[in-house]
């Protein structure tokens, strides 16, 4: 703050100095990973099977149940006497079968080299008709979808793709030119970012609306179909400049790029040693792994008091004036509960300390002014005009005046 405001303030003697000019500065940290960024190189390295295929069938089955037990190993029951089950019990799963069209990395399932069935949490509940378990962070596949998928630990993980929806690339026909092109799980163009000095990367471009992206079917359950809706009251928006960082991947170009990425991230020996990918079998009972329930660490937090070297360069008198004014400002801010509108007059300070006198509801600035006068009458009249019906629910909005 600028110092002149509180130079003569009478509260100064009571203020505790809380401004620390020096402190330990913690090391600068990287921000959390971008949840939507596509690190194609890491993803290629991580996946144990990368392929292009078309969904030919989606079926659903619940996981088996495991009754929870206490420390002595005895089954436990809820307050109504019903058995309690471990997390993952009776959990609906989708079994999505792809016809494999091209393999970029890994080996196909031994049992069915031309097909793979992925197992993913979510879908209609076999034991409760009409009920569906849905996970907003997971991709949704329907028959006919054509995708490039980065598979990781199929049948083990709740979503068997690297970074869930990020590990799915969709193939759609571009309505503008009729060419097969690559989009991400939510319908954004996938771009080829060419770098001269470093390796090429993948980024996200323009959104294209495809009905298939915003509609989620669940097999033969017509009443289970979901639609993702956007806000229904869009204003007209003027197009703004858009400079994509690279061309939109065609299906063919993506084929070539992925082949290149795999070759760069693996040796032929590594690829040769890879075991066949596991394909899920819906005919077999299965168990879903439980999420444990654990205490999060409590990390001690010390505020960092950043030094302000520029203050040290000021004449001592000026520096002290600034610090004193800041102390007063902080004191008042604490009194207002963080409201930056601080009292500046004796009346406002009195109201902050003691509250407004009864009947003082307004003033020249629309706030109590320590007088009961025509401003208060005008405010009440305005209230009456806006709210004369006690049954009107909008009246409660006037409680704050």
């Amino acid at each position: 703050m600028i110092p002149q405001k509180f130079d003569t303030c009478s509260f100064c003697a009571t203020i505790t100095c809380i401004v620390v000019l020096a402190g330990v500065i913690t090391a600068q940290q990287q921000p959390p990973p971008d949840p939507g960024a596509i690190d194609i190189w890491t993803m290629a390295r991580t996946a144990d099977f990368i392929f292009k295929g078309k969904v030919v069938e989606v079926k659903f089955r619940n996981s088996e149940s495991v009754q929870a037990t206490d420390a002595a190993g005895k089954p436990v029951f809820d307050e109504d006497g019903n058995p309690i089950y471990e997390d993952g019990s009776n959990l609906p799963h989708s079994f999505i079968t792809y016809q494999i069209e091209r393999i970029y990395k890994g080996k196909p399932p031994v049992q069915s080299p031309g097909r793979i069935t992925l197992q993913k949490v979510g879908g209609p509940d076999a034991t409760r008709p009409g009920e569906v378990v849905f996970v907003p962070h997971y991709p949704h596949m329907d028959p006919g979808d054509q995708d490039v998928l980065f598979v990781l630990e199929n049948t083990v993980r709740p979503c068997p793709l690297v970074r869930s929806e990020i590990g799915r690339f969709r193939v759609f026909t571009d309505p503008d030119d009729g060419e097969s092109k690559i989009y991400n799980d939510t319908g954004f163009e996938v771009l080829h970012v060419r770098n001269q000095q470093v390796r090429d990367e993948v980024d996200i471009g323009q959104y294209r609306h495809f009905e298939e992206v915003t509609t989620y079917h669940f097999g033969g359950c017509d009443e289970c179909t979901l639609q993702l809706h956007l806000d229904e009251s869009f204003d007209e928006a003027k197009p703004l400049p858009w400079t994509p960082p690279g061309p939109h991947f065609t299906d063919e170009a993506f084929d070539g790029f992925l082949t290149y990425v795999i070759a760069q991230t693996h040796t032929p020996e590594e690829l040769e040693k890879m075991p066949p990918v596991v394909s899920a079998d819906i005919s077999l009972p299965f168990f879903a792994e439980s999420y444990s329930e654990d205490a999060p660490p409590e990390i001690p937090e010390q505020p960092v008091a950043y030094p302000r070297p520029w203050l040290d360069e000021l004449p001592a008198e000026k520096r002290e004036a600034i610090l004193e004014a800041e102390r007063m400002e902080l004191l008042l801010l604490e009194k207002t509960g963080g409201n930056p509108v601080l009292p500046s007059t004796e009346c406002e300070k009195r109201i902050l300390a003691e509250g407004a006198i009864p009947g003082d509801i307004s003033g020249p600035n629309g706030r109590p002014d320590c007088y009961i006068n025509l401003y208060d009458l005008a405010a009440m009249a305005e209230f009456w005009l806006q709210c004369y019906d006690p049954e009107n629910s909008k009246c409660d909005d006037m409680a704050g005046i």
């Binding site: 997390d87 009443e223 979901l226 956007l230 197009p239 858009w242 444990s292 654990d294 800041e326």
Partner: protein, 374 residues
């Protein structure tokens, strides 16, 4: 119902990822889910969720307070929906057990490295359109912060992710909202959807998700329905399903960006005393009612505590409706008597006259650090 025309508009807008200068007011744009068979919003019929909080996860006071705060932030939002606590100390948590539970898990592999995940169960048969169950699971392997201290949070160069912001994001899913990637909002990248002033951060639902909650549940029944706010973060672009956010900027009068440098985990802008610039901030109406004639003032301060006690350098008014995130610039003159080499804070206060009674008054001011150059 969304018509084809609406979709075309959406299509036009959604792809707009650009440099945001003056008057770049991102149109609001929450997303949610419909039952296709009856074209109705999927939502909770009783307008509330009361969590069963995991026994180990929420054993400590710090974590209980953090969850209570997150609930209260949604409860003050303008939609008629509330989160509460059914019980602490839930011994047996699980997905798909018809109970609404919230807990932490160390099974990072199941979470795929994600900080958190939300599972829900719905029912659309006939005319039904209801949510039946929601579960939220957080990753213990993330370095979380439960406090409101600014300096050690990831958006400000620290190492701790603000748990409250991620909790609000997942709770948004739990009440029926989807991801949004085309405006500054909590249902995008949550960790830098945040307000800061005086070394204190405040995570919040924000205009877009709050507007979505109104769409799904109608008007809140709380007494105070108004809130205007300002933050120094803005929409950057889309990263997959998520909006990405970045610090607001200072611009020259020709709309070129003023040079900036790293400063205490944030950015500091290099400006000259006595010159005019365009200061960018994001203004939101997080309450129910539209507001016109909102008094907005800019200030110069010696510290990051922006209040009306600082030196006011500009006043004006804005209209803040509950349908837009207003990232915009105002022309300000840097006082000629500021000292070269010194760091100041270019502050802003929305409703600096205190005319609006709000459910949160402590999100009305923020700043951009500046350094005076010769």
């Amino acid at each position: 119902m969304v018509t084809r025309v609406d979709r075309t508009k959406a299509k036009l807008f959604i792809g707009l990822v650009t440099v945001c200068l003056a008057a770049c007011n991102a149109v609001h744009a929450y997303s949610h889910y419909h039952c296709s068979n009856n074209d109705r919003n999927i939502r909770w019929s009783d307008h509330n969720v009361n969590w069963r909080a995991g026994k180990n996860s929420f054993a400590s006071t710090a974590w209980r307070n953090a969850l209570t705060t997150a609930n209260s932030r949604w409860n003050e939002a303008p939609g008629d929906f509330t989160f509460g606590i059914r019980n602490w100390g839930e011994k047996y948590v699980g997905r798909s057990n018809s109970q609404n539970e919230i807990w932490f898990s160390s099974k990072s592999s199941l979470l795929d490295g994600a900080p958190a995940i939300c599972y829900w169960r719905y029912y659309c048969a006939g005319t039904s359109h209801k949510m039946l169950e929601a579960d939220i699971i957080f990753n213990t392997n993330v370095s979380w912060s439960t406090t409101d201290t600014q300096s050690n949070k990831t958006p400000y160069g620290g190492s701790l992710r603000p748990w409250g912001a991620t909790a609000l994001h997942e709770m948004g899913h739990a009440l029926g909202l989807g991801h949004v990637n085309y405006t500054y909002n909590i249902m995008g990248q949550d960790w830098n959807h945040i307000h800061a002033n005086n070394g204190i951060v405040r995570h919040y639902v924000g205009e877009d998700a709050g507007h979505g909650a109104v769409h799904l549940y109608g008007r809140t029944k709380t007494t105070h329905k108004n809130d205007v706010a300002v933050t120094h973060w803005k929409y950057r672009d889309a990263g997959g399903e998520y909006s990405r956010h970045e610090p607001c900027r200072v611009y020259h009068n020709d709309n070129t960006a003023v040079a900036r440098e790293d400063f205490n985990g944030f950015k500091r802008y290099l400006v000259k005393a006595g010159q005019t610039y365009k200061a960018e901030f994001t203004f939101e109406n997080n309450g129910y009612y539209d507001q016109s004639g909102v008094n907005v003032a800019h200030y110069i301060s010696t510290n990051d505590n922006i209040t009306t006690a600082d030196t006011r350098i500009r006043t004006g008014t804005m209209t803040l409706n509950r349908n837009k995130v207003y990232t915009t610039t105002h022309t300000v003159s840097i006082p000629a008597d500021l000292t070269v080499g010194q760091t100041y804070y270019l502050g802003v206060i929305v409703d600096y006259t205190g005319s609006i009674t709000e459910f949160a008054e402590n999100n009305n001011s923020t700043y951009l650090p500046i350094r005076i150059i010769p």
